[in-house]
């Protein structure tokens, strides 16, 4: 009951003008216009990908989550905070899936202060539990953009020059309560090569726009939950590297996971949990640095003892598709191909107006398969099914 009262009754919450979001097309039908918008949006996102650009593959990203009073607003269901946390969980998973050799940390800001709730690290599970624990906390006070940026910068400053440094702010509040002039912080971030992006939950705030523009990040404001998710997904793919990022050859170690097959091996603390009070990380298994033999329980990580970057081979392979994305398929009207066209990958008759053809193997796909191939698979099944086309596709990728 107590909880109910806090949220207020349904009829006390806001007016929703759902009918205004839908627009009729010329014939008075609703569905066509909506479909059109959706497919256009899907396609546009793909087209934005540019090939052969140097990307910052080793990302160090700090998520800054606003936990001020504005986040308890109910215009996202059930509240802005809960909705945000839910989407961020998805984002974290997706982030590590697409950027295996990257790291992430979480900062929250409320009551004019900033607090680091999760250190920079490569373990998605740890971040997700942190996010889940945030759901129980209360939102109050004003956020401080400056304090949280400074906090993020303190850590990011020490990251190596070849890695990309990024900050993503999810901001519900329209005000920020700062101790000092934020403009100087912005120029400090710009000089430190930190790319700051902001997702606003309510409206366009001038200072955020300025921050993003100065640091070459992107600024966007959500329309609704779906749009919010889309915007978050845009931050999953690595951004192009800035000219000032160093290019260097990196020494990497590929440690094997050693199980405690050897009976003589004694359990020991791993390096990543040395400071923790509980027994977490105390085991006989782990990854051992090939250079100095210090033990770690997760990869990828930078060896604390000798500074070697430790990754596993599949990690690197998974990042590969960002560098050599699959070519766009050609869009042609279905009628041109003939009647009753089957999609090569799902083997169903194509219903839409357009089909997509791979220029290399000349196989036909429907829109959904096209999207699946480009977003998830990153290789064309048609090309992969014969050796000849597979070779030529690979050559095209490297050229």
């Amino acid at each position: 009951m107590a909880e109910e009262e806090e949220k207020g009754y349904r009829w006390e919450t806001e007016y929703e003008r759902t009918w205004e979001a839908i627009q009729e097309d010329e014939k008075g039908s609703l569905q066509a216009s909506v479909d059109d918008i959706i497919s256009k949006a899907k396609k546009r996102k793909l087209l934005e990908k540019i090939k052969n650009v140097r990307l910052g593959m080793m990302r160090h990203l700090f998520l800054i989550i606003d936990m001020s009073e504005a986040m308890s607003d109910q215009d996202l269901k059930p509240t802005r905070l809960l909705s945000t946390l839910k989407l961020l969980e998805y984002f974290v998973e997706e982030y590590f899936d697409q950027n295996p050799i990257s790291q992430l940390g979480i900062i929250i800001t409320k009551n004019k202060r900033a607090e680091k709730v999760s250190e920079l690290g490569g373990n998605p599970r740890r971040h997700i539990t942190t996010l889940q624990s945030l759901a129980d906390k209360v939102c109050h006070g004003e956020p401080s953009l400056q304090n949280s940026l400074e906090l993020a910068h303190q850590t990011l400053r020490h990251m190596p020059g070849h890695a990309s440094r990024e900050v993503l702010v999810v901001m519900g509040s329209l005000t920020t309560c700062d101790p000092d002039n934020i403009i100087s912080t912005i120029s400090m971030l710009r000089d430190g090569n930190v790319r700051c992006s902001v997702i606003g939950l309510a409206a366009e705030v001038c200072v955020c726009k300025k921050l993003c523009k100065e640091t070459h990040g992107s600024y966007s404001v959500i329309l609704d939950e779906c749009h919010f998710k889309d915007l978050l997904t845009q931050h999953v793919t690595p951004p192009p590297a800035t000219a000032s990022t160093e290019s260097s050859l990196i020494r990497m170690g590929f440690p094997h996971h050693q199980l405690s097959a050897d009976k003589e091996e004694r359990p020991s603390m791993c390096m990543c949990h040395l400071d923790s009070k509980n027994s977490q990380g105390f085991s006989s298994t782990g990854y051992f640095c090939p250079q100095c033999k210090s033990k770690y329980c997760e990869l990828p990580i930078e060896c604390k003892a000798c500074g070697l970057t430790l990754v596993s081979a599949p990690h690197l392979a998974r990042s590969y598709h960002h560098l050599f994305p699959l070519d766009q398929f050609r869009e042609i009207p279905t009628a041109q191909v003939g009647s009753n066209v089957l999609c090569f990958s799902c083997q169903t008759a194509v219903q839409e107006l357009n089909v997509y053809i791979c220029d290399n193997c000349e196989r036909i796909y429907c829109l959904d398969c096209d999207l699946f191939i480009h977003e998830t698979l990153h290789s064309c099944p048609g090309c992969a099914s014969s050796r000849q086309t597979q070779q030529s596709a690979k050559m095209a990728g490297f050229s």
Binding site: E14, Y15, E16, R17, E20, E69, A70, D75, E142, L145, L174, T175, T176, C177, D178, N181, I182, I183, G200, A202, A203, E204, V205, C206, V207, C208, S220, V221, I222, L223
Partner: protein, 761 residues
């Protein structure tokens, strides 16, 4: 781009053009062809200035005999600078397109000595009046004559060298803003102010303030020799009637009269001294006055100069009456008149009378006739010249009295005399004031309409247009209003008429003290503070109302809630304080803290300060800004308007209130990439008579569904609007819709579409 406007080749310095600019030029061309006047309304931020300039310059180029001059009048110095910058841009484009063949155009800005003076000692003064006085001290003709005799008398070297060489050497063609004039002056060692004043007679484009044309005292000196074939543009002209009235009205207090007494004493001493040493000079003056002001009359008949309303035509034809011809007689005459005025100010109750009854009373009491009174202003001027007075500034009180005498005896109609024994707010303190108030705006502007072939009255908010020709008494050939073509709906006007508790919100006099109304207004502000980013500007109807409301909000704890989201700034009557508040307001908007500015319609903030982009994402009008209706002057004016022009009191009051409301909300939107919410928080705004007087470009988006909202509904609408507006918006989105290329302009269907953007009145 090169445009074809109804057969006229117009060079337009941008690659794209807004549809409404094209229409605006078409209309302007029509009135230039017809050699008539016009009134045009086009939203701010759609490039009025450049459209005006490029069309008129092109017209001057094509018809060099018909239009020889453009006089562009604006209100403030920053606005002057903006016009000059646009003009430079246009001339650069001409140069780039035509090279050597570009039209030879001399354009220049003129402002007061304060903004132009380069004399190191004089320009240090901050106050405009002091600069004028110091300048006069160094440049008056008799001072310079003295300097020739005695080299220790200081003169201004810049003026000297200008006088020696500058007059023969015309300014080379080009565009001169205030800075360029100063620079040119420094280089050549000329005085930029006098250089500019001399140059406006042969310049093709003159940019200066309203007052140089409308205020008879200044127009007499500056603008009287401007050519007849000129186009006069009044930009931001929504308040032009008030400017006209102000320039003709006179206020006399007891202090003024005391100063007059001192002036007269001082003058009589001077005369005595002059009589002792140089009686000849007085004699020549007397001879001149017998001849009358014949020279001036000849000048006016040959149509060389602009008529001066303070110096009526028939005065020129007669000789100065005998009883004020000698200097002592004139002073005695003034003394008598002064005594009479002192008696008149000794009143216990408010007196309101017409000029004829004042004159009659004057004749009965002190035997002063109408005729000599009419010559007062001229007579005083002549005496000042004869006496070679240096400190003209010191005699301002006496010259004010003389102006009053001339005006009161010249105009039987259109003026009213109101003598108030005390201020309305402090009824116990005796502080008599005589208001000699002009009620007819057309008196001051009539010479302008009569003399120049085309007068353009334009502004972002001129609604309702049909009112202006009536109160200014002119016949326009075209009156049109243009809306803004927008690629996205970037304004969100709404009428919030009730609070969440359904209590109607209004600033009506009977209910404005109501706690529920004040609380609802407070709630509105708090809600908007929490959803609108960066800056919010609020306008109250008056300072008193703002003070009482803010005090009530403080007690109700509403201010605390506001300050959780934004910082609070308040406009006061003190200009320095207000500009400090504004500065900090802008700072708070910049650094993301957000701010609210509480200000007053008709105050300094509501006119002339732009709140573009993040400086004003929302404007809230708390109530309808009616003018203070109990004022005697206003009542007299309303009566006059009813009798003379058949304008009902209520119509005029609503018109006046709505134009100020439109001015206030228009502050937020200064261009097409900008966006803003406009909240009219008074249920009376939804009524047809008010709604129809909002400018068309706002009315268009004020749908019926947005006319009767509660606070909650308004918040929902605004939230959605703000989210949509925050989506990326690029130039490409505007192309073809609100930005056109030459090819697009030529298409048939765009032409049809364009027509719908405009409406004749």
């Amino acid at each position: 781009m090169k445009l074809n406007i109804d057969g006229l080749l117009v060079y337009f310095p941008y690659d794209y053009i807004y549809p409404e600019q094209y229409m605006y030029m078409l209309e302007l061309k029509k009135s230039l062809d017809a050699k008539g006047h016009c009134a045009l309304e086009m939203p701010s931020g759609t490039g009025k200035t450049i459209s005006l300039l490029s069309l008129i310059v092109a017209y001057m180029k094509a018809n060099p005999l018909e239009v020889t001059k453009l006089i562009y009048c604006s209100r403030t110095v920053p606005e002057l600078e903006k016009v000059v910058a646009e003009l430079k841009n246009l001339m650069d484009y001409y140069e780039q397109q035509l090279g050597k063949g570009k039209p030879k155009i001399l354009g220049l800005a003129l402002s007061s000595r304060k903004n132009l003076c380069i004399n190191p000692e004089v320009s240090q003064e901050r106050d405009g009046k002091n600069v004028d006085a110091l300048c006069h001290k160094l440049t008056a003709s008799f001072v310079r004559a003295n300097h020739k005799r005695d080299a220790t008398v200081p003169v201004c070297s810049f003026y000297e060298s200008y006088d020696a060489h500058g007059k023969e050497m015309p300014l080379p063609e080009g565009v001169y803003g205030l800075d360029e004039l100063q620079e040119y002056g420094r280089k050549k060692g000329f005085c930029p102010y006098f250089l500019a004043r001399h140059a406006i007679t042969h310049a093709n484009i003159v940019v200066y303030s309203y007052y140089y044309l409308l205020d008879p005292k200044i127009a007499e000196v500056v603008s009287k020799e401007l050519s007849k074939n000129a186009v006069v543009v009044f930009d931001e002209a929504h308040n032009i009637d008030n400017v006209c009235i102000e320039s003709m009205s006179i206020k006399i207090t007891r202090r003024t009269l005391d100063k007059c007494q001192q002036n007269i004493d001082g003058l009589s001493k001077q005369i005595q001294r002059l009589k002792d040493c140089d009686a000849e000079r007085l004699k020549t003056e007397y001879q001149k006055l017998v001849q009358g002001l014949r020279d001036a009359n000849i000048a006016r008949e040959t149509d060389v100069i602009l008529a001066n309303p303070v110096l009526p035509d028939d005065v020129l034809k007669e000789a100065v009456p005998g009883n004020i011809r000698t200097a002592e007689h004139f002073l005695g005459f003034m003394k008598r008149f002064l005594e009479y005025m002192k008696i008149r100010l000794r009143v216990q109750h408010v007196v309101s009378e017409s000029p004829p009854s004042f004159l009659k009373d004057c004749y009965q009491k002190v035997c002063i006739e109408r005729k000599p009174l009419r010559f007062c202003a001229e007579r005083l001027n002549s005496m000042m010249r004869t006496l070679e007075l240096v400190e003209i500034h010191d005699f301002s009180a006496l010259s004010l009295l003389c102006h009053f005498a001339t005006l009161v005896s010249t105009y039987a109609k259109g003026f009213v005399l109101i003598i108030e024994p005390f201020d309305d707010r402090t009824p116990t303190i005796s502080n008599p004031i005589l208001h000699f108030s002009c009620m007819d705006a057309s008196i001051a502007i009539k010479p302008v309409f009569d003399r120049f072939q085309t007068v353009v009255i334009t502004s972002g908010t001129l609604s309702p247009l049909e009112m202006y020709p009536r109160i200014l008494d002119f016949r326009p050939v075209t009156m049109a209003t243009f809306t803004m073509t927008l690629a996205r709906t970037c304004i969100c006007p709404m009428v919030v008429s009730k609070g969440n508790d359904q209590v109607a919100m209004t600033s009506k006099y009977e209910t404005r003290e109501d706690v529920a109304v004040i609380r609802n207004y407070g709630n509105l502000l708090v809600e908007f503070c929490s959803i609108v980013p960066d800056g919010i500007v609020c306008f109250f109807t008056s300072y008193i109302y703002m003070e009482s409301t803010v005090a009530a909000w403080y007690e109700q704890g509403i201010l605390d809630q506001v300050q959780k989201h934004k910082l609070l700034f308040i406009e006061t009557q003190d200009a320095a304080e207000t500009s400090l508040a504004l500065l900090n307001y802008q700072k708070a908007c910049e650094n993301g803290r957000g701010a609210v500015l509480l200000s007053v319609a008709r105050g300094k903030v509501s006119e002339g300060i732009d709140f573009d982009h993040h400086f004003g994402r929302a404007v809230i009008m708390f109530g309808i800004p009616y003018v203070y209706t109990q004022s005697k002057i206003l009542k007299a004016r309303l009566e006059y308007l009813r009798d003379q022009y058949q304008i009902r009191e209520n119509d005029f009051l609503t018109f006046d209130a709505m134009r100020h409301a439109a001015q206030c909300v228009g502050r937020a939107l200064r261009g097409k990439t900008d966006y803003g919410i406009m909240v009219f928080a008074d249920k009376r705004f939804a009524r047809a008579d008010k709604r129809s007087k909002i400018p068309r470009w706002i009315q268009e988006y004020l749908k019926d569904g947005l006319c009767n909202l509660s606070v909650d509904e308004a918040v929902q609408v605004s939230k959605r609007f703000l989210r949509q507006m925050a989506q990326p918006f690029s130039r490409e989105d505007q192309l073809g819709l609100s930005l056109l290329t030459v090819e697009q302009l030529d298409q048939e269907d765009t032409k049809k579409k364009l027509q719908s953007r405009m409406q004749y009145v």
